[in-house]
Structures are given as structure tokens and as C-alpha cells.
Subunit: 190 residues, 2 copies
């Protein structure tokens, strides 16, 4: 027996109902609202953990990709919302970095501060700005193991030209985490 | 235009020629030798960056999954060797964590110390031990941007029951990085 020849990364089918690909998302709050909406739908429709993310063009607000937590649905620990969004965004623009030649400046809005894996991936992804909703503490209160993220980790990104704005619509984002906890949602630690 | 409905994560076809799935890998050195072999084949066959990884059952040495860096080949910044190996291993055992109920203890051997993303993923993956070949400095010498990994990051893993042994067959692992540099291989930073 060998490993399967191919894995498929998919978004849940309800994404097509929820996401208007033609809408421009102007301002951090509009971008965060969509990230939080995705996190909430993911809980309510039972397709994964309480996390959503969007990638937009920084200037125009054009929506490039979305992601929702898909760890349990796809049996794959790497599929946090941010990671899903990065992969679909890169596929769409045809570059392994969203800062590739000739591309617009891209940014990430994520419904919760990134875990260590996703923070590391931000650096590889090519996004130049990150907007976060809920705080790390809001996720660890649910016993999610967010990993080694320190103040120095954020500083490291900043020194490399990646800026962050945190706790945008924090209360709304946290409410989705509490909704998930209330429903007894799976805590998919390693 | 919307994002594509599905992404495929594949291993390069030469994996079938190189990997003997029935061989037990006993001891750290045998596991590292395969990780380094994979990194070298990936360079020589032109299918990606100079990094390879294997997941084995800690006790028996049974090979569960392999990974090679696939960032450029699959236009996807998340596909470091370790990340590819985790995903195929989880698919194979049918659990989003390799520490799931009833499973053997799993460990990772990786041809180079993990970047920040992969170190964070180790925590989610469920492996309980990590063996590394080349050092972080060996990768940064090629200008790979390895991200915010600190001594405290390793300590964080240790405190959660994940042990690491680093610089196993370092010279051999580093030689593959130098081979890649000599060939002018792509440095796929963000």
C-alpha cells in the first residue's frame, strides 16, 4: 500500500451562495465582515471550524479568494482558513507568490489572529498586509493550540514589510468562536 | 470569475521509482537518508526545491508518507516537503491528526530544519518527534526566508511533548542545498 496519488482541496459548495465575486470590498471592516460571515456559515452549515479568511487586492478591494477552515472535512491538519485562501489565490493569479511581478498588492483578512503555521505562511504567501478579527486568546479559550506565536513573530513580519491591523470587529468574530463552543464543535489539535 | 472549485496536491511521478514502501526504516539515520534522497531527486529531476520529508511509525519504522517541496511545480506557497508529507500521511491513516485514537506514534524526518510555517504545522500534525538534517542557517544561506523560528519556538513544542533531534546527516543534507544553489534553482520567497 502506498499513499494516494493525489489529494483534492475543495471549498464547501455553499461558498457559491454566500460570496458575491463582483462586489468590491472597500475598507478593513467590509473585508472583515466577509471573513466573519464565512466563519459563521462554516459553523452553521457544519463544514468546519469557526474560521474564515479572504484575500483582496489592497487598492481596489477586488476579491481574489476565500478560505474556510477545512481540517475535519478534508482530514487535513494544514487546511486552516488562511491556508486555503492562499492556495486558491495563488492558483487564480498563477503565481506561487501574491507579490509576483505585475501583480497588484494583496492583503489578507482573517476572522482570527493566525496560529504559528498560518503566520509563517503569511511570509511565503506574498500578502503585504494582514487584518485580524478575534484575538489569539479568544481561540485559546476554546482550547485550540495556536502554537509558538510571540510579539517577536509579528515584529519579524513587520521588518520584512508586512503590516498588521489586529482586533477589527473582534466582538463579532469572537461571537462565532463562542457559537462553535456552544455547539460542542471539534477541537482538532494534533 | 471565481476561484477554481478544486486544487490537486500531487507527488511527482518519480516517487514511485525511488520509494520502497515495504522497507522498514530503522533508526534516525535511515529515515534521514530517505528524506535527503528525496530532496536530491527533487533537484535533479527539476520538480522543486531541495527539501524532502518522510513520516514513519516511530516504533516499527513503517513508512507512512513522503513529501517533496512542490511550491513552484504546483504554484502553491504552502507545499513545503513537510506539509506535503503531513497531508498524505493524514489521508492514508484517515485522521486529521497522526496522534488520533488507535494510531501508532508517528515521527517526521525532514532534510532541513522547518521554517516557521512547517514548525507550526508540526504541532497540528500529531507527530511526536522530529528529526532534522540541514540547519536553518544552511537554508538562509541560499536566501530562503525561513520565518520567525526562535529557540522559544522549539521549547514550545518540547513543552507539549514533541521532541526534536537536529543536524542528523547535516553535511549530506546541506550538500543538496548547495547543489540547488549551484544550479541556480528558484528561491520562492513571498
Amino acid at each position: 500500500m502506498t499513499t494516494p496519488p493525489s489529494l483534492a482541496i475543495t471549498l464547501p459548495p455553499w461558498i457559491a451562495e454566500v460570496v458575491d465575486w463582483n462586489r468590491r470590498l472597500e475598507g478593513d471592516e467590509a473585508r472583515m465582515d466577509l471573513a466573519i460571515r464565512l466563519s459563521k456559515e462554516n459553523v452553521e452549515r457544519g463544514t468546519g471550524g469557526p474560521f474564515g479568511a479572504v484575500i483582496v487586492e489592497h487598492g481596489t478591494g477586488r476579491l481574489v479568494a476565500v478560505g474556510v477552515n477545512s481540517v475535519v472535512r478534508l482530514t487535513n491538519c494544514t487546511l486552516h482558513a488562511e491556508m486555503v485562501a492562499f492556495q486558491f489565490a495563488q492558483q487564480r493569479v498563477g503565481s506561487f507568490t501574491l507579490a509576483g511581478p505585475g501583480l497588484a498588492v494583496h492583503e489578507l483578512a482573517t476572522s482570527c489572529e493566525p496560529c504559528a503555521m498560518c503566520l509563517g505562511a503569511i511570509l511565503w504567501s506574498g500578502v503585504k498586509r494582514v487584518v485580524c478579527g478575534a484575538a489569539r486568546d479568544d481561540a485559546t479559550r476554546l482550547n485550540f493550540e495556536e502554537g509558538p506565536v510571540f510579539d517577536d513573530s509579528w515584529r519579524y513580519l513587520e521588518e520584512r514589510g508586512i503590516t498588521a491591523r489586529r482586533q477589527v470587529r473582534r466582538a463579532e468574530a469572537r461571537a462565532v468562536l463562542e457559537l462553535y463552543r456552544g455547539r460542542g464543535g471539534a477541537i482538532y489539535n494534533g
